[in-house]
Protein backbone atom coordinates (compact mmCIF):
# COMPACT_ATOMS: atom_id res chain seq x y z
CA UNK A 1 0.00 0.00 0.00
CA UNK A 2 1.13 3.49 -0.81
CA UNK A 3 -0.04 6.05 1.69
CA UNK A 4 0.33 9.81 1.48
CA UNK A 5 0.15 11.74 4.75
CA UNK A 6 -0.47 15.49 4.64
CA UNK A 7 1.83 17.02 7.23
CA UNK A 8 1.87 20.66 8.31
CA UNK A 9 4.85 22.19 10.09
CA UNK A 10 3.33 24.53 12.70
CA UNK A 11 4.68 26.82 15.43
CA UNK A 12 5.18 24.85 18.65
CA UNK A 13 2.13 25.71 20.79
CA UNK A 14 4.13 24.94 23.93
CA UNK A 15 6.70 27.62 23.09
CA UNK A 16 4.22 30.42 23.88
CA UNK A 17 6.12 32.78 21.56
CA UNK A 18 3.58 32.85 18.73
CA UNK A 19 2.87 36.28 17.33
CA UNK A 20 1.68 38.09 14.22
CA UNK A 21 3.92 40.16 12.01
CA UNK A 22 3.00 43.80 11.34
CA UNK A 23 1.30 42.68 8.10
CA UNK A 24 -1.00 40.40 10.07
CA UNK A 25 0.58 37.12 8.98
CA UNK A 26 1.81 34.50 11.37
CA UNK A 27 5.45 35.12 12.28
CA UNK A 28 6.79 31.66 11.53
CA UNK A 29 10.39 32.70 12.24
CA UNK A 30 9.59 33.63 15.86
CA UNK A 31 8.96 30.12 17.19
CA UNK A 32 10.36 26.65 16.63
CA UNK A 33 8.31 24.55 14.18
CA UNK A 34 6.96 21.09 15.01
CA UNK A 35 4.84 18.55 13.18
CA UNK A 36 1.18 19.48 13.74
CA UNK A 37 -0.07 17.23 16.56
CA UNK A 38 -3.15 15.99 14.68
CA UNK A 39 -0.97 15.09 11.67
CA UNK A 40 1.15 12.87 13.93
CA UNK A 41 -1.93 10.72 14.54
CA UNK A 42 -2.40 10.40 10.78
CA UNK A 43 1.24 9.44 10.37
CA UNK A 44 1.03 6.91 13.20
CA UNK A 45 -2.06 5.39 11.57
CA UNK A 46 -0.15 5.17 8.27
CA UNK A 47 2.83 3.49 9.95
CA UNK A 48 0.54 0.85 11.49
CA UNK A 49 -1.24 0.22 8.17
CA UNK A 50 2.06 -0.16 6.33
CA UNK A 51 3.32 -2.51 9.05
CA UNK A 52 0.22 -4.68 8.50
CA UNK A 53 -0.11 -4.48 4.72
CA UNK A 54 3.38 -3.54 3.54
CA UNK A 55 4.08 -0.47 1.43
CA UNK A 56 5.47 3.02 1.64
CA UNK A 57 4.56 6.38 3.13
CA UNK A 58 5.10 9.73 1.45
CA UNK A 59 4.61 12.84 3.54
CA UNK A 60 3.47 15.95 1.66
CA UNK A 61 3.87 19.45 3.08
CA UNK A 62 3.27 22.97 1.83
CA UNK A 63 5.58 25.23 3.82
CA UNK A 64 8.57 27.59 3.73
CA UNK A 65 11.85 26.04 2.52
CA UNK A 66 13.18 25.62 6.07
CA UNK A 67 10.39 23.11 6.80
CA UNK A 68 12.62 20.22 5.71
CA UNK A 69 13.95 20.17 9.30
CA UNK A 70 10.45 19.56 10.65
CA UNK A 71 9.69 17.04 7.91
CA UNK A 72 12.76 15.04 9.00
CA UNK A 73 11.04 14.55 12.38
CA UNK A 74 8.14 12.88 10.55
CA UNK A 75 10.59 10.85 8.45
CA UNK A 76 12.31 9.78 11.68
CA UNK A 77 9.02 8.27 12.86
CA UNK A 78 9.22 5.99 9.84
CA UNK A 79 7.81 7.68 6.72
CA UNK A 80 9.62 6.72 3.52
CA UNK A 81 10.08 10.06 1.78
CA UNK A 82 8.86 13.63 1.69
CA UNK A 83 7.51 16.08 -0.86
CA UNK A 84 7.76 19.75 0.07
CA UNK A 85 5.90 22.31 -1.99
CA UNK A 86 7.60 25.59 -1.35
CA UNK A 87 7.49 28.86 -3.25
CA UNK A 88 7.84 32.49 -2.30
CA UNK A 89 4.50 33.18 -3.98
CA UNK A 90 2.82 30.96 -1.39
CA UNK A 91 3.53 33.35 1.44
CA UNK A 92 0.29 34.47 3.10
CA UNK A 93 -1.59 31.47 1.70
CA UNK A 94 -5.15 30.91 2.93
CA UNK A 95 -7.20 27.69 3.10
CA UNK A 96 -8.21 28.01 -0.54
CA UNK A 97 -4.60 28.12 -1.72
CA UNK A 98 -3.54 25.32 0.63
CA UNK A 99 -6.25 23.04 -0.73
CA UNK A 100 -5.40 23.88 -4.35
CA UNK A 101 -1.68 23.27 -3.85
CA UNK A 102 -2.04 20.02 -1.89
CA UNK A 103 -4.48 18.67 -4.50
CA UNK A 104 -2.00 19.54 -7.26
CA UNK A 105 0.85 17.90 -5.33
CA UNK A 106 -1.22 14.70 -5.00
CA UNK A 107 -1.91 14.55 -8.72
CA UNK A 108 1.76 13.74 -9.33
CA UNK A 109 1.81 10.85 -6.85
CA UNK A 110 0.54 7.29 -6.76
CA UNK A 111 -1.33 6.20 -3.65
CA UNK A 112 -4.08 4.04 -2.21
CA UNK A 113 -4.85 6.29 0.74
CA UNK A 114 -4.35 9.93 1.64
CA UNK A 115 -4.42 10.60 5.40
CA UNK A 116 -4.81 14.04 6.96
CA UNK A 117 -5.16 15.42 10.49
CA UNK A 118 -8.48 16.83 11.72
CA UNK A 119 -7.13 20.39 11.88
CA UNK A 120 -3.91 22.32 12.42
CA UNK A 121 -2.99 23.98 15.70
CA UNK A 122 -2.26 27.30 13.94
CA UNK A 123 -5.10 27.65 11.42
CA UNK A 124 -7.66 25.49 13.29
CA UNK A 125 -10.08 25.65 10.37
CA UNK A 126 -10.45 21.90 9.92
CA UNK A 127 -11.49 22.44 6.30
CA UNK A 128 -8.46 21.37 4.27
CA UNK A 129 -9.14 17.61 4.13
CA UNK A 130 -12.66 18.00 2.73
CA UNK A 131 -11.44 20.58 0.24
CA UNK A 132 -8.63 18.35 -1.05
CA UNK A 133 -11.12 15.49 -1.43
CA UNK A 134 -13.37 17.70 -3.56
CA UNK A 135 -10.57 18.88 -5.86
CA UNK A 136 -8.99 15.43 -6.26
CA UNK A 137 -12.35 13.67 -6.60
CA UNK A 138 -11.41 11.22 -3.84
CA UNK A 139 -14.03 9.59 -1.59
CA UNK A 140 -13.94 11.49 1.72
CA UNK A 141 -14.11 9.69 5.08
CA UNK A 142 -13.56 11.96 8.07
CA UNK A 143 -13.01 11.83 11.84
CA UNK A 144 -11.78 8.24 11.74
CA UNK A 145 -11.34 6.21 14.91
CA UNK A 146 -10.51 3.05 12.92
CA UNK A 147 -9.24 2.48 9.36
CA UNK A 148 -9.48 -0.95 7.73
CA UNK A 149 -8.27 -1.00 4.14
CA UNK A 150 -8.63 -4.04 1.89
CA UNK A 151 -6.04 -3.33 -0.80
CA UNK A 152 -6.93 -6.43 -2.85
CA UNK A 153 -10.60 -5.47 -3.05
CA UNK A 154 -9.69 -1.76 -3.40
CA UNK A 155 -12.02 -0.95 -0.53
CA UNK A 156 -11.68 0.81 2.81
CA UNK A 157 -13.87 0.71 5.91
CA UNK A 158 -13.67 3.57 8.37
CA UNK A 159 -15.31 4.22 11.70
CA UNK A 160 -16.35 7.88 11.76
CA UNK A 161 -16.90 9.27 15.24
CA UNK A 162 -20.51 10.47 15.59
CA UNK A 163 -22.18 12.34 18.46
CA UNK A 164 -23.77 9.08 19.64
CA UNK A 165 -21.12 6.49 18.76
CA UNK A 166 -19.75 5.90 15.29
CA UNK A 167 -20.79 5.36 11.68
CA UNK A 168 -19.19 2.59 9.64
CA UNK A 169 -18.29 4.10 6.26
CA UNK A 170 -17.22 2.20 3.15
CA UNK A 171 -15.63 3.52 -0.02
CA UNK A 172 -13.41 2.51 -2.90
CA UNK A 173 -9.66 3.11 -2.83
CA UNK A 174 -7.98 5.47 -3.39
CA UNK A 175 -9.68 7.55 -0.72
CA UNK A 176 -8.93 10.43 1.65
CA UNK A 177 -9.32 9.76 5.37
CA UNK A 178 -9.19 12.40 8.12
CA UNK A 179 -7.61 10.91 11.23
CA UNK A 180 -8.16 11.51 14.94
CA UNK A 181 -6.29 10.80 18.12
CA UNK A 182 -8.56 7.78 18.67
CA UNK A 183 -6.33 5.92 16.16
CA UNK A 184 -3.56 5.74 18.75
CA UNK A 185 -0.60 7.50 20.28
CA UNK A 186 2.14 8.58 17.87
CA UNK A 187 5.42 6.75 18.44
CA UNK A 188 8.61 8.50 19.42
CA UNK A 189 11.31 8.34 16.75
CA UNK A 190 14.00 5.80 17.60
CA UNK A 191 17.66 6.74 17.41
CA UNK A 192 17.89 4.48 14.37
CA UNK A 193 14.92 6.27 12.84
CA UNK A 194 16.50 9.67 13.44
CA UNK A 195 19.75 8.51 11.81
CA UNK A 196 17.90 6.99 8.85
CA UNK A 197 15.82 10.16 8.34
CA UNK A 198 18.95 12.16 7.58
CA UNK A 199 19.42 10.42 4.28
CA UNK A 200 15.78 10.05 3.29
CA UNK A 201 14.68 11.87 0.19
CA UNK A 202 12.73 15.13 0.38
CA UNK A 203 11.73 16.32 -3.08
CA UNK A 204 11.14 20.05 -3.29
CA UNK A 205 8.55 21.32 -5.75
CA UNK A 206 7.78 24.86 -6.86
CA UNK A 207 4.42 26.13 -8.07
CA UNK A 208 5.80 25.91 -11.62
CA UNK A 209 6.59 22.22 -11.06
CA UNK A 210 2.93 21.69 -10.15
CA UNK A 211 1.66 23.69 -13.11
CA UNK A 212 0.15 26.41 -10.89
CA UNK A 213 0.48 30.04 -11.93
CA UNK A 214 2.16 32.07 -9.19
CA UNK A 215 -0.45 34.85 -9.35
CA UNK A 216 -3.35 32.44 -8.81
CA UNK A 217 -2.42 31.44 -5.26
CA UNK A 218 -0.85 32.81 -2.06
CA UNK A 219 -1.12 36.09 -0.22
CA UNK A 220 -1.86 38.11 -3.39
CA UNK A 221 -5.23 36.38 -3.82
CA UNK A 222 -5.99 35.59 -0.17
CA UNK A 223 -9.75 35.39 0.43
CA UNK A 224 -9.49 36.65 4.01
CA UNK A 225 -7.61 39.51 5.68
CA UNK A 226 -6.83 40.49 9.24
CA UNK A 227 -8.61 43.64 10.41
CA UNK A 228 -7.18 43.88 13.90
CA UNK A 229 -5.93 41.96 16.90
CA UNK A 230 -5.72 42.50 20.61
CA UNK A 231 -4.89 40.60 23.74
CA UNK A 232 -8.11 39.29 25.26
CA UNK A 233 -9.15 41.05 28.45
CA UNK A 234 -7.36 39.38 31.36
CA UNK A 235 -9.50 37.14 33.55
CA UNK A 236 -10.31 38.51 36.96
CA UNK A 237 -7.85 37.63 39.72
CA UNK A 238 -8.04 34.05 40.94
CA UNK A 239 -9.70 33.50 44.29
CA UNK A 240 -7.58 30.92 46.15
CA UNK A 241 -9.26 28.70 48.75
CA UNK A 242 -7.14 26.75 51.22
CA UNK A 243 -9.85 25.72 53.66
CA UNK A 244 -10.61 22.17 54.83
CA UNK A 245 -12.72 20.10 52.38
CA UNK A 246 -16.14 20.92 53.87
CA UNK A 247 -15.48 24.64 54.10
CA UNK A 248 -13.91 24.60 50.61
CA UNK A 249 -16.98 22.83 49.18
CA UNK A 250 -19.25 25.49 50.77
CA UNK A 251 -17.08 28.19 49.17
CA UNK A 252 -17.42 26.58 45.74
CA UNK A 253 -21.21 26.35 46.08
CA UNK A 254 -21.45 29.95 47.30
CA UNK A 255 -19.27 31.08 44.39
CA UNK A 256 -21.43 29.23 41.85
CA UNK A 257 -24.59 30.64 43.39
CA UNK A 258 -23.10 34.14 43.31
CA UNK A 259 -22.52 33.71 39.57
CA UNK A 260 -26.02 32.28 39.12
CA UNK A 261 -24.71 28.98 37.79
CA UNK A 262 -26.66 27.00 40.37
Amino acid sequence: MHIVVLVKPVPDTASSGERLRPDGRLDRAAVPAVVNANDEYALEAALKLVAAHGGEITIVSMAPAAATDTMRKALAMGATRGVLVTDEALEGADHVTTVKVLAAALSGLEYDLVLAGADSSDGQGGVVGAGVAVLTGLPYLSYASKIEPDPEAHQVRVRRISPTGYDVLEAALPALVVCTQALGEPRYPSLKGIMAARSKEIVTKSLKDLGIEAGSVGGAVATTALVGSEAPPPRAATRVVREAPDAAAREIVAFLAERRII
Binding site: E18, V127, Y140, G165, V168, Q181, E230, P232, T238, A249
Partner: protein, 325 residues
Protein backbone atom coordinates in the same frame (compact mmCIF):
# COMPACT_ATOMS: atom_id res chain seq x y z
CA UNK B 1 -30.82 34.30 -3.01
CA UNK B 2 -30.38 36.19 0.17
CA UNK B 3 -27.26 37.95 1.36
CA UNK B 4 -26.65 35.66 4.32
CA UNK B 5 -27.22 31.91 4.37
CA UNK B 6 -27.47 29.65 7.37
CA UNK B 7 -26.53 26.09 6.50
CA UNK B 8 -28.63 23.95 8.80
CA UNK B 9 -27.02 20.78 10.15
CA UNK B 10 -29.15 17.73 10.71
CA UNK B 11 -28.65 15.07 13.38
CA UNK B 12 -28.88 11.33 12.69
CA UNK B 13 -32.55 11.29 13.75
CA UNK B 14 -33.44 14.07 11.29
CA UNK B 15 -33.83 16.94 13.75
CA UNK B 16 -31.98 20.24 13.52
CA UNK B 17 -28.61 20.25 15.31
CA UNK B 18 -28.57 22.62 18.28
CA UNK B 19 -25.56 24.48 16.89
CA UNK B 20 -27.69 25.51 13.89
CA UNK B 21 -30.16 27.33 16.16
CA UNK B 22 -27.25 29.36 17.53
CA UNK B 23 -25.78 30.01 14.07
CA UNK B 24 -29.22 31.09 12.83
CA UNK B 25 -29.59 33.52 15.75
CA UNK B 26 -26.15 35.00 15.06
CA UNK B 27 -26.79 35.40 11.31
CA UNK B 28 -30.28 36.86 11.82
CA UNK B 29 -28.95 39.42 14.30
CA UNK B 30 -26.21 40.34 11.82
CA UNK B 31 -28.71 40.63 8.96
CA UNK B 32 -31.04 42.84 11.00
CA UNK B 33 -28.16 45.12 12.00
CA UNK B 34 -26.84 45.44 8.44
CA UNK B 35 -30.05 45.45 6.42
CA UNK B 36 -29.17 42.19 4.67
CA UNK B 37 -31.54 39.39 3.75
CA UNK B 38 -31.04 36.10 5.57
CA UNK B 39 -32.32 32.64 4.77
CA UNK B 40 -31.61 29.06 5.75
CA UNK B 41 -31.12 25.84 3.84
CA UNK B 42 -31.54 22.27 5.06
CA UNK B 43 -30.41 19.29 2.99
CA UNK B 44 -31.66 15.90 4.22
CA UNK B 45 -33.44 12.78 3.07
CA UNK B 46 -36.51 14.17 4.78
CA UNK B 47 -35.76 17.83 5.57
CA UNK B 48 -39.27 18.88 6.66
CA UNK B 49 -38.84 18.72 10.45
CA UNK B 50 -35.41 20.33 10.57
CA UNK B 51 -36.44 23.01 8.03
CA UNK B 52 -39.56 23.85 10.06
CA UNK B 53 -37.45 24.22 13.18
CA UNK B 54 -34.89 26.41 11.39
CA UNK B 55 -37.79 28.56 10.13
CA UNK B 56 -38.63 29.49 13.72
CA UNK B 57 -35.31 31.37 13.68
CA UNK B 58 -35.22 32.71 10.11
CA UNK B 59 -37.67 34.42 7.72
CA UNK B 60 -37.15 31.89 4.93
CA UNK B 61 -35.79 28.34 4.70
CA UNK B 62 -35.17 26.13 1.67
CA UNK B 63 -35.79 22.43 2.35
CA UNK B 64 -33.80 20.31 -0.11
CA UNK B 65 -34.85 16.65 -0.31
CA UNK B 66 -31.85 14.45 -1.04
CA UNK B 67 -32.64 10.75 -0.60
CA UNK B 68 -28.92 9.87 -0.68
CA UNK B 69 -28.49 11.57 2.70
CA UNK B 70 -30.09 8.50 4.27
CA UNK B 71 -27.16 6.26 3.40
CA UNK B 72 -24.22 8.58 2.70
CA UNK B 73 -22.26 10.94 4.97
CA UNK B 74 -24.15 14.21 5.09
CA UNK B 75 -21.54 16.94 4.56
CA UNK B 76 -20.27 16.20 1.06
CA UNK B 77 -23.66 15.74 -0.54
CA UNK B 78 -25.09 18.73 1.32
CA UNK B 79 -22.19 20.81 -0.03
CA UNK B 80 -22.93 19.69 -3.57
CA UNK B 81 -26.64 20.47 -3.30
CA UNK B 82 -26.06 23.86 -1.63
CA UNK B 83 -23.50 24.89 -4.27
CA UNK B 84 -26.05 24.02 -6.97
CA UNK B 85 -28.57 26.46 -5.45
CA UNK B 86 -26.28 29.44 -6.03
CA UNK B 87 -26.71 31.70 -9.02
CA UNK B 88 -23.56 32.43 -11.04
CA UNK B 89 -21.64 35.46 -9.75
CA UNK B 90 -23.53 35.30 -6.51
CA UNK B 91 -22.46 37.63 -3.70
CA UNK B 92 -23.24 35.94 -0.46
CA UNK B 93 -21.94 34.76 2.89
CA UNK B 94 -22.65 31.41 4.47
CA UNK B 95 -22.70 30.51 8.16
CA UNK B 96 -22.47 27.04 9.66
CA UNK B 97 -21.27 25.34 12.83
CA UNK B 98 -17.60 24.72 13.64
CA UNK B 99 -18.15 21.08 14.67
CA UNK B 100 -17.18 18.05 12.55
CA UNK B 101 -20.14 18.24 10.12
CA UNK B 102 -19.95 22.01 9.74
CA UNK B 103 -16.20 21.87 9.09
CA UNK B 104 -16.59 19.14 6.48
CA UNK B 105 -19.37 21.12 4.81
CA UNK B 106 -17.40 24.39 4.88
CA UNK B 107 -14.29 22.68 3.48
CA UNK B 108 -16.19 21.06 0.62
CA UNK B 109 -18.05 24.28 -0.25
CA UNK B 110 -14.89 26.37 -0.03
CA UNK B 111 -13.08 24.13 -2.51
CA UNK B 112 -16.10 23.84 -4.81
CA UNK B 113 -16.78 27.59 -4.95
CA UNK B 114 -13.30 29.00 -4.27
CA UNK B 115 -14.74 30.94 -1.32
CA UNK B 116 -12.66 31.79 1.74
CA UNK B 117 -13.35 30.45 5.23
CA UNK B 118 -13.19 32.31 8.54
CA UNK B 119 -13.22 29.51 11.08
CA UNK B 120 -14.33 29.19 14.71
CA UNK B 121 -16.07 32.54 14.97
CA UNK B 122 -16.71 33.83 18.48
CA UNK B 123 -18.85 36.66 17.12
CA UNK B 124 -19.48 38.74 14.02
CA UNK B 125 -20.27 42.35 13.10
CA UNK B 126 -20.87 43.96 9.71
CA UNK B 127 -18.63 46.51 7.98
CA UNK B 128 -17.90 47.48 4.36
CA UNK B 129 -20.55 45.13 2.92
CA UNK B 130 -19.30 41.99 4.64
CA UNK B 131 -19.01 40.26 7.99
CA UNK B 132 -16.13 41.02 10.33
CA UNK B 133 -15.45 37.91 12.35
CA UNK B 134 -13.92 37.64 15.78
CA UNK B 135 -11.68 34.65 16.49
CA UNK B 136 -9.31 33.47 19.18
CA UNK B 137 -5.81 32.37 18.07
CA UNK B 138 -2.55 31.12 19.55
CA UNK B 139 -4.23 29.22 22.31
CA UNK B 140 -6.26 32.24 23.36
CA UNK B 141 -3.30 34.62 23.63
CA UNK B 142 -4.75 36.82 20.92
CA UNK B 143 -8.22 37.82 19.76
CA UNK B 144 -8.34 38.73 16.08
CA UNK B 145 -10.93 40.22 13.78
CA UNK B 146 -10.86 39.29 10.11
CA UNK B 147 -12.88 39.99 6.98
CA UNK B 148 -13.27 38.48 3.54
CA UNK B 149 -11.40 40.24 0.74
CA UNK B 150 -14.23 39.61 -1.75
CA UNK B 151 -18.04 39.55 -1.78
CA UNK B 152 -18.32 35.90 -0.72
CA UNK B 153 -17.22 33.73 2.18
CA UNK B 154 -18.03 30.98 4.66
CA UNK B 155 -18.00 31.44 8.44
CA UNK B 156 -17.91 28.52 10.89
CA UNK B 157 -19.25 29.39 14.34
CA UNK B 158 -18.24 27.81 17.66
CA UNK B 159 -20.98 26.40 19.90
CA UNK B 160 -22.19 28.47 22.88
CA UNK B 161 -21.04 31.86 21.54
CA UNK B 162 -24.63 33.08 21.21
CA UNK B 163 -27.82 32.04 22.97
CA UNK B 164 -30.34 30.67 20.49
CA UNK B 165 -33.43 32.84 20.31
CA UNK B 166 -36.34 32.20 17.93
CA UNK B 167 -37.48 35.06 15.68
CA UNK B 168 -40.59 37.02 16.69
CA UNK B 169 -42.39 35.51 13.72
CA UNK B 170 -41.73 32.11 12.16
CA UNK B 171 -40.56 32.12 8.53
CA UNK B 172 -41.68 30.22 5.45
CA UNK B 173 -40.36 26.86 4.22
CA UNK B 174 -39.92 26.26 0.50
CA UNK B 175 -39.41 22.73 -0.75
CA UNK B 176 -36.72 22.16 -3.36
CA UNK B 177 -36.15 18.87 -5.18
CA UNK B 178 -32.49 17.97 -5.60
CA UNK B 179 -31.75 17.84 -9.32
CA UNK B 180 -29.23 15.67 -11.14
CA UNK B 181 -26.77 12.95 -10.17
CA UNK B 182 -24.30 13.57 -7.36
CA UNK B 183 -20.78 13.98 -8.72
CA UNK B 184 -18.82 13.15 -5.56
CA UNK B 185 -17.62 9.55 -5.40
CA UNK B 186 -19.88 7.41 -3.27
CA UNK B 187 -19.18 6.77 0.40
CA UNK B 188 -21.67 4.40 1.97
CA UNK B 189 -22.85 4.44 5.57
CA UNK B 190 -22.91 0.68 6.18
CA UNK B 191 -24.01 1.00 9.78
CA UNK B 192 -24.77 3.65 12.39
CA UNK B 193 -23.64 2.35 15.75
CA UNK B 194 -25.00 3.90 18.93
CA UNK B 195 -22.65 3.18 21.79
CA UNK B 196 -24.18 2.62 25.18
CA UNK B 197 -23.33 5.35 27.62
CA UNK B 198 -22.28 7.83 24.95
CA UNK B 199 -22.54 11.16 26.68
CA UNK B 200 -24.21 14.26 25.28
CA UNK B 201 -21.82 16.28 23.07
CA UNK B 202 -19.57 18.20 25.43
CA UNK B 203 -19.22 21.12 22.98
CA UNK B 204 -22.83 22.04 23.68
CA UNK B 205 -22.84 21.52 27.45
CA UNK B 206 -23.50 24.51 29.71
CA UNK B 207 -21.59 22.88 32.56
CA UNK B 208 -18.54 20.64 32.18
CA UNK B 209 -16.87 18.77 35.01
CA UNK B 210 -13.52 17.54 33.77
CA UNK B 211 -10.88 15.24 35.18
CA UNK B 212 -7.18 14.99 34.54
CA UNK B 213 -4.25 12.88 35.60
CA UNK B 214 -5.00 13.70 39.24
CA UNK B 215 -8.24 11.70 39.03
CA UNK B 216 -6.04 8.63 39.11
CA UNK B 217 -8.14 6.11 37.19
CA UNK B 218 -11.56 4.99 35.95
CA UNK B 219 -12.81 4.72 39.54
CA UNK B 220 -11.88 8.33 40.14
CA UNK B 221 -13.94 9.31 37.10
CA UNK B 222 -17.01 7.93 38.87
CA UNK B 223 -16.65 10.85 41.28
CA UNK B 224 -16.27 13.24 38.33
CA UNK B 225 -19.45 11.77 36.81
CA UNK B 226 -21.38 12.12 40.06
CA UNK B 227 -20.43 15.78 40.40
CA UNK B 228 -21.32 16.38 36.73
CA UNK B 229 -24.71 14.79 37.33
CA UNK B 230 -25.30 16.89 40.44
CA UNK B 231 -24.55 20.03 38.43
CA UNK B 232 -26.53 18.88 35.37
CA UNK B 233 -23.37 18.91 33.29
CA UNK B 234 -21.25 16.77 30.98
CA UNK B 235 -17.99 14.99 31.74
CA UNK B 236 -14.77 16.14 30.11
CA UNK B 237 -11.17 15.00 30.36
CA UNK B 238 -7.59 15.86 29.56
CA UNK B 239 -5.52 13.99 27.02
CA UNK B 240 -3.60 12.29 29.83
CA UNK B 241 -6.82 10.77 31.18
CA UNK B 242 -7.93 9.68 27.69
CA UNK B 243 -4.52 8.22 26.81
CA UNK B 244 -4.66 6.23 30.05
CA UNK B 245 -7.93 4.71 28.84
CA UNK B 246 -9.99 6.08 31.74
CA UNK B 247 -12.53 7.81 29.50
CA UNK B 248 -13.32 7.82 25.73
CA UNK B 249 -11.63 10.19 23.28
CA UNK B 250 -14.97 11.89 22.57
CA UNK B 251 -14.77 13.52 26.01
CA UNK B 252 -11.30 14.98 25.49
CA UNK B 253 -10.91 18.74 25.69
CA UNK B 254 -7.89 20.53 24.28
CA UNK B 255 -5.68 20.98 21.27
CA UNK B 256 -6.30 17.54 19.78
CA UNK B 257 -9.77 17.16 21.30
CA UNK B 258 -12.79 19.42 21.60
CA UNK B 259 -12.85 23.17 22.09
CA UNK B 260 -15.56 24.08 24.59
CA UNK B 261 -17.11 27.26 25.93
CA UNK B 262 -19.40 26.30 28.80
CA UNK B 263 -20.86 28.57 31.43
CA UNK B 264 -18.96 26.61 34.10
CA UNK B 265 -15.80 24.53 33.76
CA UNK B 266 -14.99 22.58 36.91
CA UNK B 267 -11.47 21.15 36.60
CA UNK B 268 -10.58 18.28 38.92
CA UNK B 269 -6.97 17.17 39.14
CA UNK B 270 -6.10 19.12 35.99
CA UNK B 271 -2.81 21.01 35.92
CA UNK B 272 -3.89 23.27 33.03
CA UNK B 273 -1.06 22.73 30.56
CA UNK B 274 -1.30 24.85 27.40
CA UNK B 275 -2.60 21.92 25.26
CA UNK B 276 -5.58 21.61 27.60
CA UNK B 277 -5.99 25.32 28.22
CA UNK B 278 -6.60 26.05 24.53
CA UNK B 279 -9.69 23.86 24.71
CA UNK B 280 -11.42 25.45 27.69
CA UNK B 281 -10.06 28.88 28.53
CA UNK B 282 -13.03 30.73 27.04
CA UNK B 283 -15.34 29.13 29.62
CA UNK B 284 -17.24 31.87 31.42
CA UNK B 285 -16.33 30.58 34.88
CA UNK B 286 -13.45 28.24 35.68
CA UNK B 287 -13.25 26.52 39.05
CA UNK B 288 -10.37 24.17 39.82
CA UNK B 289 -9.54 21.70 42.55
CA UNK B 290 -5.87 20.81 42.65
CA UNK B 291 -3.37 19.71 45.26
CA UNK B 292 -0.59 21.72 43.64
CA UNK B 293 -0.84 25.48 44.33
CA UNK B 294 1.72 26.06 41.56
CA UNK B 295 -0.29 24.26 38.84
CA UNK B 296 -0.75 26.53 35.78
CA UNK B 297 -4.54 26.35 36.18
CA UNK B 298 -4.22 28.37 39.39
CA UNK B 299 -3.17 31.28 37.18
CA UNK B 300 -6.29 31.42 35.04
CA UNK B 301 -9.08 29.83 37.08
CA UNK B 302 -11.60 32.17 38.72
CA UNK B 303 -11.62 30.07 41.87
CA UNK B 304 -9.06 27.45 42.83
CA UNK B 305 -9.32 25.14 45.80
CA UNK B 306 -5.95 23.85 46.96
CA UNK B 307 -6.80 20.38 48.18
CA UNK B 308 -7.36 16.70 47.47
CA UNK B 309 -10.17 16.20 44.98
CA UNK B 310 -11.10 12.94 46.73
CA UNK B 311 -11.84 14.96 49.87
CA UNK B 312 -13.22 18.14 48.30
CA UNK B 313 -15.28 16.21 45.69
CA UNK B 314 -17.44 14.23 48.12
CA UNK B 315 -17.86 17.33 50.31
CA UNK B 316 -19.02 19.24 47.22
CA UNK B 317 -21.49 16.46 46.38
CA UNK B 318 -22.90 16.60 49.90
CA UNK B 319 -23.17 20.38 49.75
CA UNK B 320 -24.92 20.30 46.35
CA UNK B 321 -27.23 17.56 47.61
CA UNK B 322 -28.13 19.58 50.71
CA UNK B 323 -28.84 22.59 48.53
CA UNK B 324 -31.19 20.79 46.16
CA UNK B 325 -32.85 19.34 49.22
Amino acid sequence: MAGLWVLGEVTADGTLARISTEVATLARTLAEASGQEVAGVVVAADPAAAAAELATYLPRVLAVSEPAAAHRPWSMIAAERIAALLEPDTKEFMFTGAGPDGRDLAGALSATLGWGVLANALGATWADSGPVVEMSVFGGKLTTTSRFTGPTGIVTVRPNVVTAEPAKKAGSVETVEAAGELRQPAVRVAERVVEAGTAAPIEEARVIVAGGRGVGGPDGFKLVEQIAEALGGAVGATRAAVDSGWIPYGQQIGQTGKIVKPQLYLALGISGAIQHKVGMQTAETIVAVNRDPDAPIADFADLVVIGDLFEVGPALLAELGARSG
